[in-house]
């Protein structure tokens, strides 16, 4: 039996019918066509489905759709500012803090929450904060640097020999 839930998704009021066993990830991707959260493991190990509920990141594969009734849900689609990259996204671009791009949506959500909670994180705090988001391409250091750059902890840059 499906249940109607209402919540705010990326600033817009949405209503959707979800089955009791349907995960938030399924509701977002299949029910609402919001595709930035990805399914990498379906058991909370990889973090690529990370979204925010009321400002806190969750693994949307481990949350049921019915649980977000009345909540504010933010995905990567809601992180852009007036169609422009957020400073964090810009730092990811400047520092090549992604390669294949599959983990990037979840990684950016985790990093966004991290910076909202801790404006001046140390390198170790960033590593700790991103430890639940797996990336197989970058070796993480450009991601860590991008987060630290956004926080103003390390200087802007990282790009050798700009054209």
């Amino acid at each position: 039996m499906k249940k109607r839930i209402r919540f705010v998704l990326n600033g817009e009021k949405r209503a959707i019918d979800v089955a009791p066993q349907e995960t938030l990830l399924e509701a977002l991707r299949d029910g609402l066509g919001v595709k930035s959260p990805k399914c990498g493991c379906d058991r909370g190990d990889c973090g690529t489905c990370t979204v925010m509920i009321d400002g806190r990141t969750v693994r949307s594969c481990l949350v049921l759709g019915v649980e977000v009734d009345g909540a504010v849900v933010t995905t990567l689609e809601g992180v852009m500012e007036n169609g422009e990259l957020s400073p964090l996204q810009q730092a990811f671009l400047d520092r090549n803090a992604f390669q294949c791009g599959f983990c990037a949506p979840g990684m950016i959500m985790s990093a966004t929450e991290l910076l909202a909670r801790n404006e001046q994180p140390t390198r170790e705090e960033v590593q700790e904060g991103l430890a639940g988001n797996l990336c197989r391409c970058t070796g993480y250091s450009p991601i860590i640097d991008a987060v630290l750059e956004t926080a103003g902890v390390v200087p802007k840059g990282g790009r050798d020999e700009r054209p």
Partner: protein
Amino acid sequence: MSGHKFIGKSVVRVDGKAKLTGAAAFVDDLEFGPGLLHAVIIESPHAYAKIRKIDFAKALDVEGVVKVVTGKEFPYRFGLYMHDRYVFAQDHVRFVGEQVAAVIARTPAVAKKAAGLVKVEYEVLKPVLDVETALKEDARLIHPELGNYHHVPWFFPKKDTNIAHFRKVRKGDAEQGFREADHVFEDTYTVPRYAHCSIETHGAIGLFDHSRRLTVWAASQSPHTQRHLFAEALAPLGLKHKDIRVIAPSVGGGFGGKAGVSMEILAAALATTVQGSPVKVHWTREQEFYNTYQRQGVVAKMRVGVKNDGTITALEQKLYWDAGAYVEYGANVVNAAGLSASGPYRIPNVHIDSVCVYTNLPPGGPYRGFGYSEFLFGLESHFNEVAKKLGIDPVEFRRKNAICTGDVLNYGGKMNPSGLLECIDKVAREIDWGKKRVSADPRKAIGKGFALFWKAPAMPPNASSTAFLKFNEDGSLNILVSAMEIGQGFLTVMAQIAAEVLSVPPEKIRVETPDTDRNPYEWQTVASHITWGTGNAVKKAAIDAREQILDIVSSALGQPRESLYLDDEQVRSRSDAGFALPLRDFVINGIMMKDGTFRGGPIIGRGMFMPEFASALSDPETSQGGKPNVHYTVGASAIEIEVDRETGKITIPKVVLGVDCGKVLNPDLLKGQVTGGMVQGLATVLYEDMRFDEKGRLLNPNFTDYKIPTALDTPEEIVSIFVEHEQPDGPFGARGVGEHTMIPAAPIIANAIEDALGIRIRSMPITAEKIALAIKDS
């Protein structure tokens, strides 16, 4: 920097905004509407068994089930280099997880439920789970039909054995070399199987429409090769290449795992059974571990002859590869590694046996490094031991024997331009080689490790790349290629190459992932060859466009042809400083003459590159005579580690990798390959390991039990050093580097542990637990 405007610059990634905003669509993001069908695969629970009976009557009764498909519908063999696979198992299953049947249903849930109702009766056979058992005289044959399998001419299967391919390399006279040696040192090293662990699992959707056109959308490194293999495998259905189309959206990591054809054949084949409806097959993380290619395990037995002064006189390597149940791709890993298993050394007498052995474990296949990581763990560990026993510094030993430009390779050809010595010296300096640091903490031991590496692209001699380049009305351009962006930054580098030739900035150039109907041929995105191969094709396409542009401007406007050149998106003239014709004024609409007629028209460039000098034909007993490898990329790497003497836990203050990339095309992208590859390589030695039980079942098919690195596991400092000894046939002198950056990771760790603790560990992985136990034993 040699006057280049875009080459050698850290141009911003052209795919960056799409990937950082969620705009990039991966295969699972594509929508196919309410008609989409879902397939769930029934898998073998046994490593080796005869299929007696498949009963799916109950599954067909479930509402929403459209079809159940078994091996009966597709009794055809296929494969990349050897046709030893089936779409679905025929009379036998050969590994745990092998596809036996599929249920196609309206929803994934119905498909899953119905799959549980399919009953398969098996006669269970004793599986062959390791190479030693497989090679015994009386071993059970995993492929009794081996002698009949179609394969490429450079494979040498031994019929009526489990040896699918035997690569022999004989250079000089190894026995004579050992007689000339003052010492002969021998040892055995072992490497287990590994998983790629792309964060995106495999997925494919097939649609066989009512006009009999087959379209497959796949997470792919090999769109054209997949099309070709689908055409070969499904030829009995009367499909031509022109009727088959592969569309490759963004790929969430490849590392070799999405090359060739593995599970994609299921989407292609199943689609033909439900004509008119798209059908989707999507691997779970578990399936991703056990039913795609795995990196093969190897047992390496080696013997090296050396003079007292450290000169290597002979090397014998016997590599026994656990290639798994099907070797259609993996046998070429065995082949490539065999040809190069001397490492980047000048060794006059070489004897290599590289043996591809069938086992009842999942199919082996391509994984970043393609066999080189595996043999270099043993070789570079062993050379360190040899140097130590001779009382020679390990770096000095390597320097003395390092291969140089023009040296004779294992198969008789000459070594390409090589900056190996420069890499060795720069890496040694960067890691402060020879200076021993002592930790203030008595529980910590500090050690340094050093290793060399090399790798050549492993590909058929005629592997080719092509490119189309189309100008638009505003002077921007679209480049059509079929190599894949798998994270490395390929699209950006192709834009840079065209930008350099045409003086159009990369941000005005769009390069996207391919559709085989529209984009021209590319063999595969593997082998670290596309910057080189596809880069050459794009450069030729850009030159082709440039020549058309200069021709038309010269003939229409009477400008002397030899004076014309492109600069800043305009045609300029060396003989007429005032002449400046913007490209956008004519690259589509042509140039208007005084009488109102036009000359020229849309500019389309075409480029093709095939290495015409390569050949895989050689003497099967010696490998002498051919030119199987287009070039080798070489380098050196070093690490400093701190080991906890009680727990065995390793921390890494610094790791350095120096590589001769020929020419740096984009420094930041290249650095990204070093950082990512090194961390991936370090994980294979420090944590990762596929564990199988005595029945051949994979015990750790998930990220809880198969540990890949997290942000906490990255070394404190990773230093990249780029050396540029140009590759004469590379675009702007570049050669491949993508795989090389993970290859030396295992031996630098093993050698650093030996340096820190005096303990030599000869099997991977080298986990904290293994180190702690070794400390206890010593």
